[in-house]
């Protein structure tokens, strides 16, 4: 556990307060960054959309326009909705994202809470969002919302398993569940006896990386796995009845979760905050680390959104078949082989 | 088979006639086959050379016509099914602007019912078309419907697609089809009264606000209002 934040000694409650504030600021910021960079700029170029290229200088005002639009919308709660559950659902979804940020290391000392079971914790809290999604789907008293909620639930459960199994390969190789230890393991590793570049696990765990990317795509309910929110089928799914600020919660949650998962992928497979050539123990790593992590996150996020803008959508049963028949056996095989190799070598 | 040149080019007349004779024979042959298969059901027929074939059948044989077309005559493609109300103008045009009616004074009094190709004896006629997708030839069937019993056997047993057409004909003309269990409104609201495509169904929009119609078109000098339409200015 890092008791130091840039070597300043603080009381427990002060530390806690700072950590909470940092996380609270991080979530909307990261969501905005992904929103601008990928949703608006990259997508508009890839899909030749007009708005984000034209509105304001360099099309940057499109986000402001959209944000303003959300804020001034009327907050509508369906008459027959379960009001309390309806209101609580977006908060639950956002809380699950919030908790994921706790274990993300951005530098040797820059981590909100270095849990020894870090990655396991992240998997556990990310599964909490299912509850929020089901709450939203059920409480809206809308058939489309219910169908979307159920689809989301089934999908998230089906993909939790390959996600965790993919992570297991990395954990076996690193020998730890702690995010920091996983980074260290990659920094200390060597390729064919050459230690200069360390050993990003994407090289040895390429199968796990593939499964992980597919699984987070499903966890994020993005195309090609966006059946829960498919607008041409269930008209937005579980958040069909949400407007304005509450919808913005779901929206922020989606992008913040995308950022969090990209960060986890970057940490597990690309070495996280570690940069070759910089001593991980030096104070410099605390400054370069966040930048390196951010760059790596953007690379992973680019992959996520690239898939999103390219593929059409699966059908729900095809998705389940894909998860259970291909991804899970593949992940199990990966774990077995990794385990054997770790014991043998 | 396509006439390329315009009608006022005299050189193609011979070719036109040749084409017409060929298609004529095809339709004659088809008509002969239809008569052979349907027997007494065929009441009257009409061939427009090079264009189309009209066959009027009895109402009782209406379902057999569909069956014979699809299964024995090779006319497997179902085009459409509808009806015609032959009640003449001005009942059909009573929503026209008064100026139009005055200008067209000859039509102001009810004319006797005159039916079209292949004749007819009743005000309502069923109209359906089937097509042969292999031979590329089609037939338009007609059947008379007596006013006191506007119903006909359904085609849905043979042509599945006839269901929607029959529903439309039912709500638009008030013609029912025995054997079609699903005669519900297709277009109109459930509580709608009346049969809009009948000629005596008033077009209320026209009643409320008469359409200017042709009055805003200046008649060309020399263009006769009753004369045959061949003279007059070209644009």
């Amino acid at each position: 556990m890092s008791e130091l934040i840039f070597a300043i000694e603080l009381a427990y409650w002060q530390q806690t307060l700072i950590k909470v504030l940092v996380a609270a600021v991080l979530i909307p910021t990261t969501a905005l960054i992904l929103g601008i960079v990928f949703l608006f700029k990259m997508m508009s170029w890839m899909q030749s959309r007009m708005g984000p290229q034209e509105a304001g200088p360099r099309g940057l005002l499109q986000l402001a326009a959209d944000g303003l639009k959300f804020l001034q919308k009327e907050d509508i709660i369906p008459d027959r909705a379960d009001r309390f559950v309806f209101k609580a659902a977006p908060v639950v979804v956002l809380a699950s994202t919030f908790l994921t940020y706790v274990i993300l290391p951005a530098g040797p000392d820059l981590i909100i809470e270095n849990l020894p079971t870090g990655i396991f914790f992240a998997m556990a809290v990310s599964s909490l969002s299912v509850v929020g999604v089901l709450m939203a789907g059920w409480s809206s008293s809308n058939k489309y919302a219910l169908m979307g909620g159920l689809r989301a639930g089934g999908q998230l459960i089906a993909y939790e398993l390959p996600l965790i199994l993919a992570v297991m390969g990395v954990v076996i190789q690193a020998g730890s569940l702690s995010m920091q230890d996983i980074v260290w393991a990659q920094a200390d590793g060597s390729m064919f006896g050459f230690g200069g570049l360390g050993l990003p696990f994407v090289i040895t765990q390429i199968v796990a990386f593939f499964i992980f990317m597919v699984a987070i795509q499903a966890e994020l309910t993005q195309p090609p796995f966006d059946m829960p929110v498919a607008e041409s089928e269930v008209v937005g799914g579980f958040h069909v009845e949400y407007t304005g600020f509450r919808f913005l919660f779901f929206f922020l949650g989606e992008f913040a979760t995308a950022f969090a998962f990209a960060a986890i992928a970057a940490t597990l497979f690309l070495g996280g905050w570690w940069v070759p050539g910089i001593d991980p123990n030096s104070a410099l790593a605390n400054i370069v680390g966040p930048i390196a992590l951010f760059v790596k996150i953007m690379v992973v996020a680019f992959l996520i959104f690239w898939f999103r803008f390219t593929y059409p959508r699966f059908r729900e049963d095809q998705l389940q078949r894909f998860a259970w028949k291909y991804l899970i056996p593949l992940a199990l095989a990966n774990i077995t082989i990794t385990g054997i190799l770790v014991v043998v070598l | 088979m396509i006439r390329l040149s315009s009608a006022d080019t005299p050189t193609t007349d011979a070719a036109d006639e040749a084409v017409e004779t060929v298609t004529d024979e095809r339709r004659e042959a088809l008509l002969a086959r239809i008569t052979e298969v349907l027997g007494d059901a065929v009441v009257q027929s009409h061939i427009r050379p090079g264009d189309d074939l009209w066959v009027r059948v009895t109402r009782e044989a209406w379902a057999d016509v569909a069956d014979a077309s699809r299964n024995r005559l090779g006319l497997r493609f179902f085009d459409f099914l509808s009806a015609i109300d032959w009640l003449p103008s001005p009942f059909g045009r009573d929503m026209d602007a008064q100026e139009d009616l005055d200008a067209d004074a000859a039509a102001a009094e009810p004319a006797p019912i005159v039916t079209g190709y292949a004749g007819g004896d009743t005000r309502f006629q069923l109209l359906a078309r089937v097509f042969d997708v292999d031979e590329h030839i089609g037939v338009t069937f007609k059947a008379d419907l007596p006013d006191e019993d506007l119903s006909a056997p359904t085609w849905t047993r043979t042509f599945l697609g006839a269901e929607w057409h029959e529903r439309e004909t039912w709500e638009m003309f008030g013609i029912s089809f025995t054997g079609n269990a699903n005669l519900a409104h297709l277009y109109l609201p459930g509580a709608f009264e009346g049969n809009p495509l009948r000629k005596d169904f008033p077009l209320l929009a026209r009643r409320v606000k008469p359409w200017p119609g042709i009055v805003d078109v200046e008649p060309m000098p020399g263009a006769g209002d009753e004369g045959d339409s061949d003279e007059g200015g070209a644009s």
Partner: protein, 178 residues
Amino acid sequence: MSILAVTEVLVAQNIAFAIIAVGVVVAGVRLVTTENVVHAALWLVVVLAGIAGLYILLAAEFTAIVQVLVYIGAIVVLFLFGIMLTRARLGEGETVNKKMRAPALVIAVAMFALMAYSLWGYFGSTELEVMGRSTAELGQTTAQVADTLFLTYLIPFEVVSVLLLAALTGAIVLARRD
């Protein structure tokens, strides 16, 4: 008792324990009193999350995370799934048989008394010495849990796995009709 030793962390822990405990109790009461099945499942989430919080306070991180992952992430979600998929009547209007309340109360109190007595009898004199010791020394790290599970208790663990698998297969066989 040494738990009340005056350190900042322990004060914070005690405050947190009080908050969580009250929350869990309230949620537990709501869980059994609410008439809406979905609400009951959601209160269950609160209860389980609170208990996970208590595990963390007891420095049993791994148990807490398993609690969240398995109970909230899987079991309650399955509950919700089942409730939403089936046509269970929601909300009021259901005539609940309340005749068995008194016996149920007796059994519940007896059960609580039994468990409290046995726990107290077994652990009552043990003092948890938290101060100055890491979780590793307390034998609660993930590695230690894994070692215990896969070395000492390997046979029971595998037997339980097979049993669960058999139950799962049986459930599928029973549920599938075609």
